[in-house]
């Protein structure tokens, strides 16, 4: 196999919204490469539907402080408030910047960016829903991805599409580049760089029912973990309440923002009971738990494990103009017309609040004191700033990728201007070569897909919306057993040329490792907060657990350390809606 060397100032891994935003920031002033295992326009940012939150106040009074409060309360007070403040302030300028770059937002009659309601976003610190989500029909993420990709083409960003990053190169305590495999040829490429920005997205594919793309396998998160670096708050994984049953394909919260409601098997609008103020626009963690509770207590539809989303009263015109894509999803995948029929929905694994710890400039940090690893950055869903705390609000994922992709890019630019190119360690290729030699030699004990399928079922049953200590212990045991079995797995395809079987097999390895970090962190946290709900510890315990988890893999086991939460403006309070 050939080895090809490249040298850049900045290497960006992943070409979704965060990666492209970082590329736009750096590409004018530095030599930048963007690597993706897909083509950039295939990235999962394109699947985001409902909107991007920013307190523009185009339709009614709004303030970034209100957005900040909602984000902190939505995150069950685990969000770092210094970072949330930066995000909610920056969100306003970045939305204008997106508009200036050409993003075709939906418009108000006055020609301003239109805004709609979204779960957990309120006026005046929780009084009532507010119109804050800027949107482009129900394809906001698609339009963000397209707009950023277009800006990258304009800026002549150098893309390496369909390159699969296998390993990080660290040298003398710094990031020094990455090792990647060109999928088309099987060639190995060494990308040396002064700075590396990780933007590989989430890992919803660890669960059986998910809104995530097949490519969302936590690649960079697993690579960091394998290098003995910490992962933050991995126990917090969001289930979006309205996945299309049974596929898990997302139906945007924008539907409820426009007025759709949830109904149980008795035809009852059950969210009125659980969240009297915000009702169907309560945060996602709460609604997902309520749906699970309704189903468990026998109030699913005809005793089945789903409930209904009712859009019928919105009328054909609103449904088809403001929610065209999800209307088509429902028609294509279920043969149901949401204008006249009820839509079966089920919570779907959607978003990782946890990930690679970073500071507010995207710098990857390695300990409770937030010591950065020079030259290494992460942004977007693979990172944990932490903005989202224990539960992310709708629209804040798009805010996160734009704001922190931009900040990571800007800081990387500052960094490379005063840094030299780190030396390439003699063993830079060794780990990648060893991994490839392992997977491309010898017979396979079983298909990788069998391991993945068991993992996804186990995670869904034991580590999803409702968790218990015994269930999580079982989950950890199963994951460890699967990791053991995975040692015997090899892809059936051994060719150099466009070997997607090898890629998928490596991805199963990433999923196993992020699942281990998730399950062990969840077992360790003996309280309930946000998306992490322990039936054996059903209340929030600020005295012991108002802190971030840092999970390190050391000598084959996990060591937990803890990091304080930044609290600046809002003292933790009971979280009711």
């Amino acid at each position: 196999m050939n080895v090809i060397q490249h040298t850049f100032d900045v290497v960006i891994v992943g070409a979704g919204g965060a990666g492209l935003m970082a590329a736009i920031q750096t590409s004018g002033a530095a030599n930048v490469a963007v690597l993706s295992k897909l083509y950039p326009s295939r990235s999962h940012t394109g699947s985001a539907q409902g909107g991007i939150g920013a307190a523009l106040g185009n339709l009614e009074e709004d303030h970034w402080e209100w957005h900040m409060f909602d984000t902190v309360k939505g995150g069950d007070y685990l969000s770092d408030q210094d970072a949330v403040e930066i995000m909610c302030r920056d969100a306003i300028d970045t939305v204008y910047e997106l508009e200036h770059q050409g993003l075709p937002f939906s418009r108000t009659p006055l020609g301003l960016i239109d805004q709609r309601r979204f779960g957990g976003h309120t006026r005046n610190f929780g009084e009532a829903p507010v119109r804050r989500a800027c949107y482009a029909a129900d394809r906001t993420g698609h339009m963000i991805l397209q707009t950023l990709y277009q800006q990258c083409i304009k800026n002549r960003v150098r893309f390496f599409s369909e390159y699969h990053v296998l390993d990080l190169i660290l040298s003398t305590g710094r990031a020094a580049g990455v090792v990647a495999r060109e999928i088309r040829t099987g060639d190995l490429h060494v990308f040396r760089a002064k700075a590396v920005i990780l933007t590989t997205g989430g890992y919803g594919r660890a669960f059986k029912i998910t809104s995530n793309a097949l490519a969302n396998t936590g690649d960079a998160v697993a690579m960091i973990f394998r290098r003995g670096l910490p992962l933050e708050d991995m126990e917090f994984f969001q289930f979006h309440p309205t996945g299309l049953y049974p596929l898990g394909v997302l139906l945007t919260e924008g539907a409820r923002g426009e007025g759709a409601i949830l109904l149980n098997g008795e035809g009852e609008r059950f969210m009125e009971r659980y969240a009297p103020t915000l009702k169907d626009l309560a945060p996602r963690d709460l609604i997902s738990r309520c749906i699970y509770t309704e189903i468990r207590e026998g109030r699913g539809i005809d005793g089945n494990d789903y409930v209904y989303l009712d859009l019928r009263h919105l009328g054909k015109a609103v449904i088809e103009s403001k929610l065209p894509d999800i209307t088509e999803f429902v028609r294509v995948y279920l043969g149901i017309d949401p204008v006249t029929q009820l839509v079966p929905i089920v919570p779907t694994a959607h978003y990782a609040m946890g990930g690679i710890p970073t500071d507010v400039d995207g710098r990857v940090t390695v300990d409770p004191e937030n010591t950065p690893l020079p030259g290494l950055y992460a942004a977007g869903e693979c990172a944990c700033v932490s903005i989202h705390g224990a539960n992310r609000l709708g629209t804040n994922s798009l805010v996160d990728i734009i704001v922190f992709g931009r900040r990571a890019g800007k800081d990387a630019l500052r960094f490379i201007q005063q840094a030299d190119l780190p030396p390439l360690p003699a063993d830079a290729l060794d780990r990648a070569r060893t991994e490839l030699a392992h997977f491309l030699g010898g017979p396979s004990s079983e298909p990788a897909a069998a391991i993945r399928s068991e993992l996804q079922k186990t995670m869904m049953d034991l580590a999803s919306v409702l968790r218990t200590g015994t269930g999580l212990q079982d989950c950890v045991n199963v994951v460890h057993a699967l990791q053991e079995r995975f040692q015997g797995v090899r892809p059936a395809d051994r060719s150099e040329h466009f070997n997607t079987d090898l890629l998928e097999t490596l991805e199963v390895g990433y999923l196993l490792d992020v699942s281990e970090a998730l399950a062990v962190s969840a077992l360790n946290r003996t309280e309930s907060r946000g998306a992490h709900f322990r039936e054996d510890y059903p209340t929030r315990n600020d005295a012991e657990w108002l802190k971030h988890t840092l999970a390190y893999r050391e000598n084959g086991t996990l060591r937990m350390r803890y990091k304080p939460v930044s609290i600046t403006k809002f003292e933790p309070k009971a979280r009711t809606y």
């Binding site: 897909l38 083509y39 326009s41 295939r42 990235s43 999962h44 394109g46 699947s47 523009l56 939305v95 204008y96 508009e99 200036h100 770059q101 050409g102 075709p104 937002f105 939906s106 418009r107 108000t108 009659p109 006055l110 020609g111 301003l112 482009a136 029909a137 394809r139 698609h142 339009m143 397209q146 277009q150 800006q151 083409i153 304009k154 088309r184 793309a213 097949l214 490519a215 596929l247 394909v249 997302l250 894509d325 088509e328 999803f329 294509v332 995948y333 279920l334 043969g335 298909p447 897909a449 069998a450 059936a492 395809d493 060719s495 150099e496 040329h497 466009f498 997607t500 079987d501 998928e504």
Partner: protein
Amino acid sequence: MEVTVKIERFDPTSDTAPHDVSYRVEAQETDRVLDLLNQIKWYQDGTLTYRRSCTQGICGSDAMRINGRNRLACKTLVKDVGHSIDVRPLFGLSVLRDLVVDQEPFFQKYADVLPWLIVDESQTPERERLQSPAERERFDDTTKCILCAACTTACPPFWANGKFIGPASIVNAHRFIFDSRDQGAGERLRILNQRWGAWGCRVVFNCTDVCPRGIQVTDAIEQVKREILQENL
């Protein structure tokens, strides 16, 4: 129930010509064709090669010929195509392996129409530029494009002449030409005022028929042609 999936296979490093291989898969009427391909790859033949990612018709990775027509495998259900399913790579781009075609020329043609907002940046306002709902509606349809290449590879003039810029590029030019904020229409129209530009279109409507996003592709191309004529380039 069991369905038969016949797939055109080709590995240029070992095969001299493509050949068909049939697989039998257990399936339900509501399964996506992508689900069937995954079942084959995961449990029967790991060497089967195709692109896919989102599974929900938005990333544009898995356009292919299914029963003779370009479709997204993740947006096509068994009940749409029956129990005997024929799957082939997109036509008109070279096959890298099995159902994977070389998309580099496709993305290059996309870049050729200057697909970004062209504006005088010294005039950028502090807040958003104003655009009425009617102005926004003018190009709404062409913002839906996911660059899956289904239209371009269904186009007979493109099959006949790979130099033709193809419907997808013209759709993306349309998205900017008719955006009230954009000032680059003249430049794009000059690029498209060529035999291999918009005039390469012979109004066959295949593009419109296959677009998985329901874009009125031919109509958009005709609007671009009329704009070229009106601009007297």
